[in-house]
Subunit: 437 residues, 2 copies
């Protein structure tokens, strides 16, 4: 009975249904799974293991789940900020995508994103972009777990000159990725109800559903979107999507800023899930999603960073902090979205939004060994009364020192193991040197 990995000398924040916190904990891993979690008895030795990791007092918690990314957009980080949304998209982001998002650049941008996510404690992401097979190649190399959606939109897009081919492309992509890796699940990412016709929406949902895959879509992000959909269809974006028949438990609605009580009822009734991206919604001045109401309606709400062009990083610790505080000030209620709730959104609820809650999102026996270690021997994390408070209100991604995904150590003592960081940084900088708008 030799384990593959034993982690000890840590506070284990399990995020299990009882939100158990285990002091002086041990986590035992065999193959890809967690086999034991317990307090180390005062006098007991450590279980035998091929690899023993002394966490040196770190907080060990489930790897974070980023429910909304556009990984290749790391290449546009800081390219354009502080602009009206329309100018930002039309004058900078769309032209840059058209000009620079080649398959090779998509791969390198995704490698950069994977390095950043691992180094800041994310172990699973849910992505949507074009040339998504290139994104998948980067993710696979990195050792991350991911749900990766091929983009569908009724305009020409990277890799899809003729938009009428968009579903065909998506089906080829699904076929290619379906059994390619145990860590990667393909998905379809429809851009939005205002950039896809109802025909496209239905076809895309059908393509995803036929393989029981996740269907992702930006929905109710901005007031302008709401107004446009209402003008065209006489309904709110959520009502309109419901009418097209795309809402069910395998549908992830991204943003849901402009939703009212009726919309929330629909989302709850259809068992659809929501990705909340407060940092991006703030930076683009989209608005503030009614997260308390969504949660109270029993809807699974996970956290996302959105792409690096509108955040501008992929650090979910920052998102947790801002999420907890934004909703307090927005509702003028300091008890809104407490640290424990937000930590659940970044882990087990996030897993639930993408249908992975049985495998990941908490540290429990029999679940996948996706865990991260947060070094607390730092001034800003000293003293410590409550680990959950520190993770949400004081830590940031750079406090993560070791990351294990599916039983594989991908970062140890702040050193990225699965990827060549220096090479990735150089390649990304070289591409950026050629980019101008």
């Amino acid at each position: 009975m030799i384990y593959d990995i034993v982690v000890h000398n840590c506070t284990v924040l399990t995020v299990n249904p009882d939100f158990d916190v285990i002091d002086n904990g041990i986590v035992c891993i065999r193959d890809t799974l967690i086999e034991k979690i317990q307090t180390r008895a005062e006098t007991a030795g450590l279980p035998s293991a091929k690899k023993t990791i002394d966490a040196k007092g770190a907080i060990v918690l489930p790897g974070l789940v980023n429910t909304h990314t556009h990984l290749p957009m790391t290449l546009f980080r800081g390219l354009a900020d502080d602009l009206p949304l329309h100018d930002w998209l039309e004058k900078y982001i769309f032209p840059a995508e058209k000009k620079y998002m080649t398959p090779e650049n998509v791969r390198i941008g995704s490698q950069l994103a994977c390095a950043e996510m691992i180094m800041s404690g994310t172990t699973t992401c849910c992505d949507g972009y074009f040339f998504e097979d290139e994104v998948a190649a980067a993710v696979r190399e990195s050792g991350l777990r991911a749900t990766l959606g091929q983009g569908v939109i009724d305009f020409a897009a990277p890799g899809i000159q003729n938009p009428s081919d968009n579903i065909k492309h998506a089906l080829v992509y699904i076929e290619k990725l379906l059994n390619a890796s145990p860590l990667i699940r393909p998905s379809i990412f429809c851009h939005s109800p205002y950039t896809c016709s109802s025909q496209t929406l239905k076809a895309a949902k059908s393509a995803a559903a036929s393989n029981q895959l996740l269907f992702q879509i930006h929905a109710a992000e901005t007031k302008q979107e709401w107004d446009n959909i209402y003008t065209d269809h006489g309904k709110s974006p959520i009502q309109y999507l419901d009418q097209t028949g795309v809402l069910d438990h395998n549908t992830l609605l991204v943003h849901c800023v402009w939703v009212d009580d009726d919309d929330i009822d629909i989302i709850a009734k259809r068992n659809a899930t929501v990705s909340h991206n407060p940092v991006s919604n703030m930076k683009l001045a989209s608005g503030i999603a009614p997260v308390d109401k969504l949660l109270n309606a029993g809807i699974s709400v996970g956290l996302g960073t959105d792409g690096s062009a509108s955040n501008n990083n992929l650090d979910l610790f920052g998102v947790m902090d801002i999420c907890a505080k934004l909703h307090k000030v927005h509702t003028l209620n300091p008890t809104a979205l407490d640290a424990g709730t937000v930590l659940q959104m970044a882990t087990i609820l996030g897993a639930k939004t993408i249908g992975l809650e049985k495998n990941i999102g908490s540290l429990e026996i029999g679940k996948q060994a996706d865990l991260i270690m947060v070094d607390t021997c730092k001034p800003h994390l000293t003293p410590m009364y409550n680990p959950a408070s520190h993770l949400v209100y004081a830590a940031d991604g750079s406090d993560v020192k070791t990351v294990i995904i599916g039983g594989q150590v991908v970062m140890e003592d702040s050193r990225l193991i699965s990827m060549n960081l220096e090479e990735i940084l150089e390649q990304a900088a070289a591409i950026a040197g050629l980019i101008s708008c």
Copy 2:
């Protein structure tokens, strides 16, 4: 002509009036001052110096100015969160202060805060607390620059059993600190218009004014404060403070969340300054200050973290990020508070709020050599199109690797030089082990 320090191989973000950014820059320091800033000529050698620092491509910028802290409260970091404001104060913070804020603990909590501030790029802070001479001892040891206000309140407080002695204590403190260190300026910190009588306010302002020192006061922080002051005095907090005669260019108004156009006119007319603490205001659900209006009225607005019990860290990079994004979403205007403006708030405008803009807050010849280096060889800071954008929207305090204050290197390559970090962390943890509420 040998310099004390020459920094090279960096992008210098000066935050001078033209917001000049100097690629391949050199900064030359002699004694406490900046003597030269320029682009390094392709073929030129480096100027002679006792110490040469290769910044390895870092962004060099003015050290950040934290305009509102309660340094010893690091000891209460995460002690109580997610509570109604009244419960938080009355049931947790005030009793804990009464019981645990001994002179020794004030000093250790302040040492912890100084270590945290230096390590996250703050070189100047403006503090208000009790036993402020102990705070000063910690600050002096750390090498930070600071304006340190002895607390005045009409209740018993740490070190002041009899509140009628509060001004006497403040005067003794001023006398003691007035010429004790070139980096430290004493100040008086009146708690608020609702905890100090008009008599106390006037006496405290007079004590500060007689030495041309800064008078700090929490003002218009919460709706409850506004209501109470209006009930008692028939005026808004700002109007009331104006009536007592305490508003002038040496008055720093902390928070100013609940201010209307008339209040803003008064603040502008009196040349008083404002410390904006968005993260604390969010976490305590106090509200959102009208920063755009304050700035448009020509008022100097700096950034503050507030104490670690309501933030919960002292990282001004986090405050910059949240400040820029919060006001965008609050006004639904993505062009509000752009990165450059926010960077000015954290540097030169912050310096102006505490009367130090001629000495610090920008990198200019003849100014004090207070500068920090931000390591950009990291995934979340790659690629780089615009240094200001990265500093506000993507970086955090842990990206700071080297810190110079008044020509002294206090941190180099992420290693704190001026203080014994391990000892401070141990002492703070030991004190926390005794704290319970």
